[in-house]
Structure formats: C-alpha cells, structure tokens
C-alpha cells in the first residue's frame, strides 16, 4: 500500500499544489492555442484576451445568421434579391452613418455598387443598415465602408488596427 494521506487538510493541500502546478504548466499551452485564434488586434492587447472572439459561440451564431441573410448559413454570399442587415449600437440617435460600396479604381461599372440599395434607419439603441441586392447577379463577397460620426462617444466600434510594426520585438522579428 502506498503511503496514505489521511487527514483532509493534507488531501486538500495535495490537490491545491497539483492544481496550481497543472495550471502553471498548462497555461502557456493554452495561451499558444488561444493566440493562434486571435486577430492581430486581439493578440496585441495589454489586457489579456482569455477567449478570442473567434472562439465564442455567439459570434459563430451571428455569422451564420448574417450568412443566411445573404445566401447560405455556411458559406454566406450576396445573392440576387437578398437583403443583409447590419447593426451598429450607438445608444442614441445622432448623425446617421455614411454607408457606401467601394468600387475598384478605374472601373466604369460595378454591378455591386450599381445594383445595391442601401437603407439606414434608427431603431431602439442601434442604427440598422440594410443592403439589398436588386441586380440579377449573385456575389461571393460584398465590400462595404461604414463611416460613423465622431460625435458619438468613443469605444462604440472596434479600435482601428494597431500598426503591426515588424521588428519591434527582436525575438518575434526573427521568426516571422
């Protein structure tokens, strides 16, 4: 028989030490896994991001719903006659957001921009942007630019991408 730890306190201590050690051992591994799923913006936060946005089920659900509006829940798309609705939560109704579909420089005609109808309207607490494909063509992708007024309180939208400076950290510059 192995040496037995009889008292409850000793057993508690045993589990505490084992769990603490396991946590310390597993943390860098988890961090590797989590960082591999982060966007560069998420990875470069001074506050740790424990669960990357891409891992959260709610985001997958939202993406599937948005995809279903445009064509298929799995593959998305922007099919003829479909309407895709986006929301920007602002709290109060300020100046409406400016929405446009950018066209390639030098293109005479862009079926996406010409054939789309854009509607913005304020609902309870959020701006709703509905983009309807009125052309008879289907598309895989829809580029969209949304400009929002600076008069809204900051922190509404995602911060702009932090400049990814190659070589700011000698160790990482060596790898990439």
């Amino acid at each position: 028989m192995r040496p037995d730890l009889r008292s409850t306190a000793a057993r508690l201590l045993l589990y505490l030490v084992l769990s603490g050690g396991a946590l310390a051992m597993a943390f860098p591994f988890y961090w590797m896994l989590a960082t591999s799923l982060k966007s560069p913006q998420e990875a470069q936060q001074s506050q740790p991001v424990w669960i990357p946005e891409r891992l959260k089920a709610a985001n997958w659900k939202a993406a599937a719903q948005l995809g279903a509006q445009g064509g298929s829940a799995l593959w998305g798309g922007y099919q003829a006659g479909r309407t895709v609705t986006l929301r920007i939560y602002t709290g109060e109704a300020g100046p409406p957001p400016q929405v446009r579909i950018p066209t390639a420089a030098g293109a005479f005609f862009d079926p996406r921009a010409e054939g789309s109808q854009i509607q913005t309207r304020f609902r309870e607490g959020y701006w709703e942007i509905a983009v309807t494909n009125n052309s008879d063509q289907s598309f895989r992708l829809l580029p969209l630019v949304v400009l929002i007024s600076k008069s809204y309180p900051t922190g509404l939208t995602r911060p702009p991408p932090a400049p990814v400076t190659e070589g700011s950290n000698p160790g990482s510059a060596y790898l990439r």
Binding site: A10, A22, N169, G171
Partner: protein, 415 residues
C-alpha cells in the same frame, strides 16, 4: 571435416567481410570527394591481402569463383561506384566454401558481424567520421567549405582558451544554466511525481497536463514564451503588474540585483545569471518537466510497496516514508536524470536562439552552443566552431565522468 591447425581459418572470414564493407565505405567517400583516390587503392590492398591470406591457408578450387568476384569488384569499383558491391558478393561466395570447415563459433562470429555491419556502417558514416572530420577541421585556419585553408595546428585552441573572452562568458553562462536547471528540475519533478503517485482523482488528467509542454515543439513553445515575456503585450507583465519590463533584454545578474540594496557590488561571474537568462531557464524547466516527471513516476513504480507497509507499521510519518524510503530508492532514477540533464543543459540552444537571437544584451544569454553556431554559421569560421565543439565535448565528458564517480557512490541500485 575440419583441417589441421595449420590450415585453420579461425575468424578470417569475418575479417575479410569487414575489409570488404570498409572498402565499399571508402569507395563511397571517394565518390563524394571526401577522400583522395589512393585511399581506395589502400582499402583494396587491405581486402585482397586478407582474402589471399585466408585463401592460401586452406586452398580449395571452389574458392576461385569467389576470388574472381572479389577481384572483379575491386577492379570495376575503380571506374563505377556500384560495382564495388560485387566485393560483398565475392565474400558471400567465399564463405559458402569456407563454412563447412569452420566451427560453429566461427560461423556465428561471421553472421554476427554480417548483421552488425549495417548499423556499424551507419554509425561510422553519420557519427564517428563526422566527429573525426570536425577534429581535423579544428586544426585548420578559418575553414569554410569554399576557400582554401591551411593547417595551423592548435592555434584555434590557443585563441579560444587564452584570448577569447566571449568563450569564457559563454562557458560561465552555460555553467549557470546547468547549476540552476538540472537540480531544480529534478527536485520539482520528484515532488510532482510523488504527489501524482498518491491516490488522487483525475490522475490521468493531471499527468496529461504536466506532460503537455514536452510534446510541443521546442521552437513553437519558445515563441509562445517570447510572447508571454513581451514588454508591451506580454501576459507576465500584466500578471505581475510590471508594464514595460523587458524580461529578455535585462542583462543585470540576479545576485547583483539582490545584493545591490545592501551596497554590495558583484561583477562578472558572481553577478549570477541575468534576468533574461533566468527567463530562459524558467521556460526550459517548464518544457522538460513533463519528461522528468514521467521518468520519476516510472522509478516510483519500481519501489516495492512492502517497504511502505513496514514503515507504516513502525509508525513512520508520510514525510519520513518519502525521506527514508522513496528518496534513497529513487536514486538510480535521479542519477539517470542528472546525467542526461547535465549533457542536455550543456547543449541548450533552441530556446536561447528563439528568445534572444543575438545572445541577449551584452551577450548575457550567450550559451556555448549558441556561440558555436554563431562562429560557424554566422561568421563562416567552421574551424573555430569545431574547436569549440571539441572543447565542449571534453568538458561534458570530464563532468560526466566526475558525476559518475562521485554521485554513483550514493546510488542504491538494488532495492
């Protein structure tokens, strides 16, 4: 039927076989332009001499086809490399005639050598000959595989041991790495293994978690730790509340830092490993701990449970059981880990290169293998790098021998 003692073959067939395999290896080296052409002639002379001597000892007419094959292989081997394999066929043919007059022991020796030669050949090609080649290179002047270089004798060693301050810096750093990581790793692993060996729930889960770091590629793990140590976005700085602390670029020695408030100023070796190097040591400990735990766990399973039962009957406490039963009976395992750990720690390279590619600020994380790599592959001075390799080899050898002599006395091999 055996012939008289005068005509006895003894172990000559095995000798002929060895000469034939060596000839094939020499021909390969000549093909790769590692050896001059006359080396093949020398090998051929050796083989033919051995074969003729054995043939004349107990001559039979049926030996002639084998000899013919042998001669054909040697002759054709001059012009085309694969033809030299005919020599081996010749040895086979000779053996067919020889075997009836050989004792069972002698036949076994021949077959033993035949089966051993493939691995001995591989060892020669990939381990022994490159090591000897490195030894030869270390006597040349700045050999770089391209230009000419002349023989300079022990000059590289003279520079290395008497004038190269960086080499001694690297030796001191490596020494600190060994001193810190090897004992600490063994103690931590023993502690965790003893706890894991208790009757705990989720035992497999815990063991998996502890083993996880070891199965990640060292390069990838080092890159993750680089991110954890990052001064701006690193997790460690968030955890400790020390934003902006650049762990991997802090060259102050830890002893010097600890004693600075007391007014004691330590310099050089006695300043201790730098903060950056300590960060690398932590990463290395983390990576290797899982492996060490598995080894210690295997050692723990070997300790008979009767000892613990007897100790419990005598009223020994849990701590006493560990101190007087587990630790002494675990000594073969800890000795094994100490030996392998010493050798491995002396060759630490990957994590140092990934975390501090330049060898750190003021070369505070320069280890001996990183220095070797820099000399060879950055400065294209393979002679100097080989000299470093030879010195490191001797240092590891001496330390391991001392370890065997001193520590092994305390090892209890029989439970």
């Amino acid at each position: 039927m055996r012939l008289g003692a005068a005509g006895s073959l003894s172990y000559r067939p095995a000798l002929v076989l060895g000469a034939a395999v060596l000839l094939a290896l020499i021909r390969l080296a000549v093909e790769l332009e590692l050896l001059p052409g006359w080396a093949y002639g020398l090998g051929a002379l050796l083989l033919l001499g051995a074969a003729l001597e054995a043939t004349l000892r107990a001559f039979r007419l049926w030996l002639l086809p084998g000899l013919g094959l042998l001669l054909a292989g040697v002759g054709l081997g001059y012009s085309s490399f694969p033809a030299v394999l005919l020599v081996l066929a010749g040895v086979g043919a000779l053996y067919l005639v020889w075997s009836p007059q050989m004792s069972e022991r002698e036949q076994a020796a021949f077959w033993g050598w035949l089966l051993v030669w493939p691995s001995v050949g591989l060892l020669l090609v990939w381990q022994v000959i490159p090591s000897l080649y490195a030894l030869w290179i270390s006597f040349l002047d700045r050999f770089n595989f391209i230009g000419e270089s002349r023989f300079v004798g022990l000059t590289n060693y003279e520079i290395l041991l008497t004038r190269d301050l960086l080499f001694w810096k690297a030796i001191a750093n490596t020494f600190w790495f060994v001193i810190v990581t090897v004992p600490l790793g063994i103690v931590l692993a023993t502690l965790v293994a003893i706890l894991l060996n208790e009757k705990v729930r989720l035992q497999g889960f815990f063991r998996t978690l502890y083993f996880l770091p070891y199965i990640t590629a060292l390069t990838a793990a080092a890159a993750v730790w680089d991110w954890i140590y990052n001064p701006e976005f690193g997790f460690l700085n968030w955890l400790l509340g020390t934003p902006g602390l650049d762990w991997l670029s802090t060259p102050q020695g830890i002893f010097a830092l600890a004693l600075a408030p007391l007014g004691i100023e330590l310099r050089g070796f006695w300043a201790g490993p730098s903060v950056a190097f300590l960060a690398i040591m932590a990463m290395s400990l983390w990576h290797l701990l899982g492996y060490q735990i598995v080894v210690v766990l295997a050692g723990l399973q070997n300790i008979p449970k009767e000892y613990y039962e007897a100790a419990q009957l005598d009223g020994a406490s849990w701590w006493q059981q560990q101190r007087y039963i587990t630790w002494p009976l675990l000594s073969p395992t800890t000795f094994f880990l100490a030996t392998l750990g010493l050798i491995g720690a002396f060759q630490v390279f990957t994590q140092v290169l990934i975390l501090t590619p330049t060898g750190g600020v003021l070369q505070d994380t320069l280890t001996i293998t990183l220095y070797l790599y820099n000399k060879g592959f950055r400065d294209s001075d393979f002679s100097y790098a080989s000299a470093i390799a030879m010195v490191v080899f001797v240092v590891i050898l001496v330390l391991t021998v001392i370890q065997q002599r001193v520590l092994e006395r305390k090892v209890a091999y029989e439970a």
